[in-house]
Structure formats: structure tokens, C-alpha cells
Amino acid sequence: MQITRKSRQAATVSLVAMVDVLMIMLVFFMVTSTYLDLDMIPLAEAADDTAAGAAGAASAPATRGAAVIMVRIGADGAMVHRGQPLSSDGLADLVARQVADGLSPDLVLLPSAWADVQALVSALDAAAAAGALRTRVIRLEPQP
């Protein structure tokens, strides 16, 4: 007599638990992550001013000297140069004139204590767009 053994079916692995875990992880990352696209503007870097200045002078084309352009930022965020309102295009013209005269423009920003951060960032943007090789911000004393 031949005894036939019943073929055993392979045990099925339930994937439901895996889906549960994936779903929980998905919801966790969706809720805890921030999706803002962020950039940065350096305020202080490891290289000190003198080293950066020397490196800049070495790499910059030959100029007849440095021309300091002082730009004030008012409490309303408007830029002022020598008492006159200054637009972003005006700043670009100013920098371009200094470069055409063979001078290396050195931009100094003096913001009002009550100007907001956006005003400073816009001025830094305008300075970068104008092609200012070196931009410095005069820092303010803490509010008493």
C-alpha cells in the first residue's frame, strides 16, 4: 500500500503589519518635517576680515584704491546715500561708476536700529547684484 502525503501549503506571510508600520512612519515624517526651501547669508565666517581682504585684493583686478560707499538703511527700509534716496539700480550705478574709475568699491551698510531684517537682506541682495566686492554691516549696540 502506498501512502500519499498531502502536499503542504507554504504559510503565507501577512503584509498587513508592514503596511501599518509604513503608514505610521509616513504620517510621522509628514507631520514633523518642514518643507521650507531655506538658504543662508553668512554673517560671520571663519576667515577673518584681514585675510579675506588680502585674498580679495590679490584676486581682484588692479585698482587705484578702495572707495568706501556708505549706505544708510532707514527705519522704513529705504536706502539713503549722502542724504539722497538710493534705489537698487542707483546702487548698481554707483558701484559701476567706482569700478569704471578704477576703484574697488567697499560698501558699508549702516542700518537703523528699527529697520527690519528684510530691509537688511534686500540691501545685501542689492549690493551683491551691484557687484560690490566687499560689503560690511555696521553693527548696532544692544537695546538697553
Binding site: L15, V16, M18, V19, L22, M23, M25, L26, F29, M30, T32, S33, T34, Y35, L36, D37, L38, D39, M40, I41, P42, L43, A44, E45, A46, P111, S112, A113, W114, A115, D116, V117, Q118, A119, L120, V121, S122, L124, D125, A128, A129, V137, R139, L140, E141, P142, Q143
Partner: protein, 134 residues
């Protein structure tokens, strides 16, 4: 004659496709998201056209529109922020500090703070901005 109807079994639904979709979503959110501690107050960074890419890591000091401060998502006063940053700096001399200031925050609450952080000896202080059009 009585016809016996065969017992119809519902076809088993496969959940493999569901797993695939959930897995893709998981990887997507892992890649595009940034795991930062959020400040306990509203912070909308200023818009800049010419910002540089911001690497991760470091400490984040948040400044609210009214001058409120937070370090890595925890509200703190200025002295506390500086003390804790000094401790972090002792552990990691190459610490990067990101100042995440609200676009409408007054500069007298941001620039002196940046100066104080720099005076601690922090080698890399950056201002967080949002890229925007001209």
C-alpha cells in the same frame, strides 16, 4: 432538478501595490523634508535672491517678530541662549549657528545677538533666508 450554485469566493485583494505607493511616499517625504526643531512662535524668514545653499547641522537661534528668542525650538532668554551656545561650542569648536529671524524683526534684536554669538568664538554664523524672485 435543483441546480446547486457554486459558492463564490471573493478574490483576495493584493496589497503589494499599496505597499509600493506608501513606500514611495515615505522615501519622498524623507528626502524633501528637513527635520528641524521649530520655534514656539511664528518665524517667516526674509526673502533673498542671492542666498547660498544651507547645509544641515548646527544650532538654530530663532528670533520672533517681537524679539522673542528660542534655541533649537525651545524658548529662552538671551543670556540663556548664549550660555547654552557656549556649552555647545565647547563640545564642537566648529559649531555653525543659524539665526532664523522673522522678516519683520527689528535689527536691534538681531545684529547685537549675532555679534554676541560671534564674540563667543563661533566660527560660522549665518542668517536664514528664503529664496525668492527679484
Amino acid at each position: 432538478m435543483r441546480l446547486a450554485r457554486r459558492d463564490r469566493r471573493a478574490a483576495p485583494e493584493t496589497i503589494v501595490a499599496l505597499i509600493d505607493v506608501v513606500f514611495f511616499l515615505l522615501v519622498f517625504f524623507l528626502l524633501v523634508g528637513r527635520m528641524d526643531a521649530t520655534a514656539p512662535f511664528e518665524v517667516t524668514p526674509p526673502v533673498a535672491v542671492r542666498g547660498a545653499d544651507m547645509p544641515g547641522g548646527g544650532a538654530t537661534v530663532s528670533v520672533g517678530a517681537g524679539g522673542a528668542l528660542a534655541l533649537d525650538g525651545t524658548a529662552a532668554v538671551r543670556a540663556d541662549v548664549l550660555t547654552r551656545l557656549a556649552g555647545r561650542l565647547a563640545e564642537d569648536p566648529a559649531l555653525r549657528v543659524r539665526i532664523n529671524a522673522h522678516a519683520g524683526a527689528a535689527l536691534n534684536g538681531v545684529l547685537p545677538l549675532a555679534q554676541a554669538i560671534e564674540d563667543l568664538g563661533v566660527p560660522d554664523v549665518v542668517l536664514v533666508v528664503t529664496p525668492g524672485g527679484p
